[in-house]
Symmetry: C2
Subunit: 375 residues, 2 copies
Amino acid sequence: MNIGNYQLRDREESFINLNPLQTGGRTTPDARKAIISYIDGYSICDWCKGALHITTEPDIAGFLIDVSDFLGMDYALPTNGCREAKYGVMHAISKGGSILCDANMHYSSEISAERAGLKVYKVPNNGEPEYKVNPLDYAEKIEDIKKETGSYPDLVLLTHVDGEYGNLVDPKQVGKICKDYSVPFLLNTAYSSGRMEIKGKKLGADFIACSGHKSWASGGGNIGILAISEEWEEKIFKGGTNWKSKPIEILGCSSRGSSLMAMMASFPYVKERVKRWDEEVKKARYLVEELTKIDINPLGESPKNHDLIKIDTPVYDKIARGHKKKGYFLYYELKDRGIIGMKPGRTKRFKISTYGLSWDQVKYVAESFLEIGGD
Amino acid sequence: MNIGNYQLRDREESFINLNPLQTGGRTTPDARKAIISYIDGYSICDWCKGALHITTEPDIAGFLIDVSDFLGMDYALPTNGCREAKYGVMHAISKGGSILCDANMHYSSEISAERAGLKVYKVPNNGEPEYKVNPLDYAEKIEDIKKETGSYPDLVLLTHVDGEYGNLVDPKQVGKICKDYSVPFLLNTAYSSGRMEIKGKKLGADFIACSGHKSWASGGGNIGILAISEEWEEKIFKGGTNWKSKPIEILGCSSRGSSLMAMMASFPYVKERVKRWDEEVKKARYLVEELTKIDINPLGESPKNHDLIKIDTPVYDKIARGHKKKGYFLYYELKDRGIIGMKPGRTKRFKISTYGLSWDQVKYVAESFLEIGGD
């Protein structure tokens, strides 16, 4: 069906969706109700007290206290998304020096750093097939930067779980190194917080960036969280010179509508679901184990510690070469089986996610992949 | 009714809403359908081509061409909102110098300028009761800045229609002055584009910032537009060094969900409604004329050229002093009559908007205000 020129979308409603960008953001029924109820612009400003983060009807102020507790941090602000949280920190911190990141970082980290005038250095991964980042390598790289530029980096960033391989890196070790060198530490949790439990200060993080629409079941209006430790409040959450209540790094008020309400409505579910994280990892490991029965090679760390699965799939590539639909055959074969969420046309390497699927669905997905592979 | 801890919202559905923040953003039925259909996170990324603005399913790329035509500009990108569009320009342009704005500018313009490292200078208004900004004063102020700092400002900003008095300032004269001094010109159209027709380049604007949720019937997920003239494409829409397709000033991809779809779904209606702008102004003028039958004084320019009405209301203030509900009486009196959208507790001075109301509704609002005032 079309609205004007635009086709209506049908994914979660009718399919098993494996798109890693989308599985952790899948809305809860309460988030959907909240979005529909607060659907108009500036809907959360009905009872404005002068700024978004101090609003109490709806209780955004209370929610932000709960969220910073949940993340094991001291203060939190809503942002337009995870990248906007990262940029906010980088912009406030930047002295025009450098930032040390992991090689698996999301492109938006690199773009944010460039926008904030920071030169990007990278801790490498160990390449095919695992692409693992060793957190201990941060120390050596910090020393290298000091040697090259005369200064320590302005900031260190670690991608807690990367969006390419779903590798989980231990932030504690990076946190310790950052403390040793007195360099502030930003943990990008786009694929972790909201899925698994995170206690940021215990990990040594000064700043935590979160993605509402990637991992907090928060719907499609952009929303993220920036949580910080107390000592950084004045620098990162500073208000305008003439607008004290308006934090500069979120341009005063970030989410001006339903997206924040969606995150608030889903939050009770998110707090519960992180307790079931081990089960989510089991599902991913099960699927990988099943898939390797045919000519499919998992990429990223083994065993997996996350639901994002990247696989190298010679089995489908071989079929595609002889198929009249070419690379698109896999997309259609899966769609016929009610499975969706992979990039159409891809048969050599692709990413999927089992997050939030039932065991029955995971088993069905495994069977479907094997069946299409000719097992 | 509550969702978890949060009360469901009921405004447009059951009331005549006069909140100036909300009347121009009121969703169309098609926008509501689009939001519900694309309710999940990253829902517009199903057919990603590498960046938001080049996506063709849904046809974001085509929409952006239509929008820049509609605004009389050359290129457009979606932003997280109007303030984010303004900040994007300021950040890209800033040499750490100054920006010349009008005294009626929105706080977010000032916060954005501060974040971009620009010192803010202001063209004053003429004070009570009209608060008018004379566009010709920009020339003198530019000279003053040159004298004081040794340089012309990095950027000039004009608030086309301000959010405090609803005053409309002629951008053409500011555009001419900017051209004379070779200073780039940013026109903030948060309260104008989407309501009235704007042809930016004809007005001499280099950049146009638009608010989806304030004036484009685009719903509550943050959304705005930044439209520019051709000569600025390289500077303002520049991609990342290692991510050429990802514009730095929107951190690669801005709206990652339903908010952009809502704007796209409403766009055919917006294109039509700007043709009926004269009628909207007539409604505002009618209401002001009616209200001044009792002890109410309009603020801002007279006659009005916009639906945003600010009034000084001794009549209600006098009643409030003797009323058991004090300042809140007016809010409840109006709510009892099915009218909502003013700040509860305000009786001395407040803002309302007639945008999008039928003539019957405007007349009913006028009668209600007069009745409550004891006419």
